[in-house]
Amino acid sequence: MNILYLVLAILLIFLLMVIFYKFWKKDGLYLYICLMSSILSIILIGSIDILSFQVSIGIPVIMGLFICSNIIIQRYGLDEVKRILYTFGLSYIITFIVVSLVSLTFIKDYNISSNDIYDLLFGYNFNNFRCIISNFISIMIMIWIGSGIYYSLRKSKNILVISNVITAFVISFIESLIFVLIAHIGNFSGIELFGMISIRYIFEIVVAIIGLIPVYILVKFIDK
């Protein structure tokens, strides 16, 4: 059942990218990055099991960010990286800080259980903080290095599929490694960590390959 929900989430995430680009072009892609970053800061703390290893439910959103940044680089050049990083970083951090700030408040009379759940989910605790920081660092590095790799591949051989797939293969590994090491080291054994990195890596590659469809639609069709 999880796979079905994941597929639905992936389709929705990529469909949103196409809609945002169709209506607002470059500004739309930045709005999409902002939206996905804010959503990511809320859902990344949830995880599911794939082949008995823990995987974050935020991966489709992360790959949405990766593919969106590739499209921006493809269309508007490497100068946009700084702006992509600012947009992602600020949206992610502002949403996290403000949503978490509310967990410091309390209620006396009504809806106490929902308030407690909110505090447990978004409260300032060590595990949440590790997750947030590791995601922030890994995605910043993913966008930064990924854009460089994508741009050089595009310059040497402007074949959309090859540039995207090779970048995804390299960058997903770096992202998975950084995320799992910062978020989970000390909580799991070496074998479990290796499994988590591998599953995260494979899952990201699969989502990135599915993501080639919106890339193709955006780059090849919508502009023409």
Partner: protein, 222 residues
């Protein structure tokens, strides 16, 4: 503590609008709109007590969204206003669907958060359904009212405040009254709605007065 956090959120909300107005442009206002929409939606699950009044925490940032609508109406044309409403609705609806899809997945054996997500959303299903409806009605009403108020010369401030009092009434009673009527019960819900109504009027009036001052501040060209 509740009062301090509430005040801090108010300062953050109006402070970010000021920063974007002074140092950035229209595009950054859209980015802020997306962030405020999601923050406001997430905060709608939280109820806090300040001076004996139970307040839904979304009121600060949803007031921020209404005030940004005021800013857009006074600065930009109809196309941008429609784009502003579409951006908010798309952000809220897509975040609801993505978060709901995440929360109904079977969690990892090491994970406690997805179960909590599920409890939070399904205990407050009325809020999830009514929040986008209330927001959409409020945005349509405020866009129409602000456009009409632009033509008024006499007593514009007083008339705008009175309009806001009316818009907030619709907003609070669609969202707060009906959602808490289902979540808690009808009798208590009316008390929560009245408290929220008065607090939101105060918040939005202060925001409106501050925004008028902010709009007079000259932009710094980047």
């Amino acid at each position: 503590m509740n009062g301090v956090v509430f005040l801090l959120l108010f300062v953050i909300c109006i402070g970010l609008i000021y920063i974007v107005h002074r140092y950035f442009g229209k595009h950054e206002f859209y980015l802020l709109t997306v962030i405020y929409s999601i923050i406001s939606f997430m905060m709608s699950f939280k109820l806090i007590t300040i001076l004996g009044i139970n307040i839904n925490m979304s009121i600060t940032f949803s007031s921020g969204l209404i005030m940004m609508m005021y800013y857009f109406v006074n600065r930009y044309d109809n196309v941008e206003i429609n784009k502003y409403i579409i951006t908010i609705m798309m952000s809220v609806l897509s975040s609801i669907i993505i978060i709901l899809l995440g929360s109904i997945m079977i969690p990892s054996i090491y994970d406690e958060n997805l179960i909590l997500f599920k409890d939070l959303f399904f205990d407050n299903l009325a809020i999830i359904i009514l929040y986008p409806i209330a927001l959409f009605i409020t945005l349509i009403l405020s866009s129409y009212s602000f456009k009409e108020l632009k033509k008024v010369d006499k007593n514009r401030t007083a008339k705008t405040v009175l309009t806001l009092v009316g818009i907030i009434f619709v907003d609070v009673f669609v969202l707060i009254y009906f959602s808490y009527a289902f979540i808690i019960k009808f009798d208590d819900s009316i008390l929560i709605a009245i408290g929220n109504y008065f607090v939101k009027i105060i918040v939005i009036t202060i925001m409106y007065l501050l925004l008028n001052k902010i709009m007079r501040v000259k932009k710094v060209k980047s």
